[in-house]
């Protein structure tokens, strides 16, 4: 199957004092999984996607789909489906006409237009003008356009934007299914908890640079530390035992007699309490959320940038 390859990609905007939107980026998006594309607003996610599609010209570096630049593809819509900006449609057209001209340009039959309208739940609104679409409907139309050519690669910029709760559940299932079918799926988002529900792999950007390119599980483990939640029938003995072993114990945020043991795993605590014969009612590893891991990473990155800037004194021309 087809992968997306980004190599040493750099994009500068502006003339005399150029700003780097994307800075020496290298990563590969593999088929068969959903890759979450994360980073704060302005980190370069959308710019990277535009560069992959050949809409913007890179200052240097390359972006290819299955080894070929997008602009050289024979069959672009059957190769890559992209949703960049759901607002980027002419408001005076009907949703169906919007899809029809896209389909016609790539020799796709009108039957495909009706199929993707059905798939995205837009059949009843197909002949309405886009100006009268809600934000969620425009988002669905953008997704319909991406699915038009039944492509092996999908690249969606914030697809959940504006969708209602039902729509969010739908898009989650759709992304999972597309990846399970062996397609390459790249989905950008700034919503961490939402991304956690569908991504297998993460590519994280900060200020145009690559901060991480790892499986999601690994990312969370690497940027969070172990902690365990425990509830006991014998607080006095448990506290004494844990402190003796060198662990710190604190009350869990939701109280109710639960404690949080930092730096420990459930296996360790379980073994200790069993050995000591301390009754335990509840014992669980507390997994950090993707959001916490992400914030930990960006805090590290910010610190790294601050240290680097402080230690080197750039000449005025470089600024």
């Amino acid at each position: 199957m087809t992968s997306i390859d980004v190599k040493n990609l750099t994009k500068e905007y502006g003339g005399r004092r150029p700003a780097r939107a994307v800075d020496g980026l290298t990563f590969r998006v593999e088929p068969g999984r959903v890759t979450g594309f994360l980073g704060p607003n302005g980190a370069g996610k959308s710019t990277t996607m535009r560069l992959v599609l050949g809409l913007d010209r890179p200052t240097s570096g390359t972006a290819t789909i299955g080894g070929r630049p997008y602009v050289t593809l024979d069959d672009p819509l059957r190769t890559v489906g992209a949703l960049l900006d759901a607002q980027a449609a002419h408001p005076a057209r009907t949703g169906r006409d919007h899809l029809r001209f896209l389909a016609a340009s790539n020799g796709l039959p009108d039957r495909r237009v009706d199929e993707v309208l059905e798939e995205t739940g837009l059949t009843s609104a197909a002949r309405r003008r886009i100006r009268r679409y809600s934000l969620g409907m425009r988002q669905r139309l953008g997704i319909a356009a991406a699915l038009l050519g039944d492509p092996g690669v999908l690249m969606l910029d914030e697809p959940a934007n504006g969708l209602d709760p039902e729509g969010i559940v739908w898009i989650r299932g759709l992304l999972r299914r597309l990846a399970a079918e062996g397609r390459t799926v790249l989905v950008s988002s700034h919503l961490m908890n939402e991304t956690a529900t569908f991504a297998d792999h993460l590519v994280v950007l900060g200020r145009g640079r690559l901060l991480a390119d790892v499986p999601m599980r690994e990312f969370i483990d690497a940027h969070s530390h172990a902690r365990v939640r425990v509830r006991t029938g014998d607080p006095v003995r448990l506290r004494a035992t844990l402190l003796a072993k060198g662990w710190t114990v604190g009350d869990a945020a939701d109280g109710d007699g639960r404690w949080v043991v930092e730096g420990a795993s459930a296996e360790e605590i379980g073994a200790v309490t069993a050995r000591e014969g301390i009754p335990v009612f509840e014992l669980a590893d507390e997994r950090a959320s993707l959001e916490q891991a992400y914030l930990a990473l960006t805090a590290e990155a910010a610190e790294f940038t601050a240290t680097r800037t402080a230690s080197s004194t750039p000449s005025p021309q470089e600024v």
Binding site: D74, V80, A88, R100
Partner: protein, 249 residues
């Protein structure tokens, strides 16, 4: 796999784009409506009295509605181009047709062909409508320059449409183009229009309209005149093509 983005496929896609936007397709139809409407409004009343003064070329007087018809053509060219810049719609077009020269060329071909077909029909409509009310000042279709002027009107309208389309791609705004071209054609060209010598002769509208005269004035003949307009159009189309190819979408 053979390429799916073929020239006929992109032409069809561009035609769907024009058909599906009311302001574009409406402007194209307005070329016909204006040709018939203005002719019917003008010639029954002042057609003969004006012809009687003998100040005007008898054939050129028939194309009086062209002053308004060309505004519809300019709008058609401008909206066909500007629809790609509304809300960044061009990104969708380029994702489907990444070859920018193909996309631009197909649009120019469809817009130009549409304007030419409608323009020729409008040319004959203006000719026959005016003649129906001109009595003894009527010009027969067999008379010198008559047939040339009917087809020439279509050619002129197609060129003016593409001129406007090219400029709109360059400036990325129909408002900018319409607010420059329309006052230019209505006022500037009108005011200095009496001067048939000098710079005015070479303006895109003045030069091309020589094809509507029985006896072209000044230095340019009917066909050289339309050739000058074609050069203006080619320059505008090239500038638009350069902008589409070079700029980030």
């Amino acid at each position: 796999m053979s390429a799916a983005v073929t020239v006929p496929a992109v032409l069809r896609s561009e035609w769907i784009k024009i058909r599906s936007i009311r302001s574009s397709f409406g402007s194209l139809l307005a070329v016909l409506v204006a040709a018939l409407g203005i002719a019917l409004a003008v010639f029954p009343s002042i057609g003969q009295p004006e012809a009687e003064t003998g100040d005007m070329d008898p054939l050129f007087w028939i194309y009086y509605p062209m002053n308004f018809v060309q505004i519809a053509a300019i709008s058609f060219g401008a909206t066909a181009a500007s629809s790609e810049y509304l809300n960044g719609a061009l990104r969708n077009s380029l994702a489907a047709v990444p070859n920018r020269t193909l996309l631009y060329g197909a649009k120019a071909a469809v817009v130009g062909a549409g304007a030419l077909v409608v323009g020729v029909v409008a040319g004959f409509v203006m000719f026959f409508t005016a003649n129906a009310f001109l009595g003894k000042y009527a010009v027969g279709i067999g008379e010198p320059g008559a047939l040339r002027s009917c087809f020439g009107a279509g050619l002129y309208l197609a060129l003016i449409t593409l001129f406007s389309m090219g400029l709109t791609f360059l400036l990325r705004s129909a408002v900018a183009v319409l607010s420059t071209l329309i006052p230019f054609i209505l006022i500037v060209s009108f005011v200095i229009g009496g001067v048939s010598e000098g710079v005015a002769t070479w303006l895109p509208d003045r030069a091309g309209q020589q094809i509507l005269f029985q006896e072209p004035l000044g230095t340019l003949g009917a066909w050289t005149g339309i050739g000058v307009t074609a050069l203006w159009t080619a320059a505008a189309l090239l500038a638009g093509w350069w902008a589409v190819r070079r700029r980030d979408a």
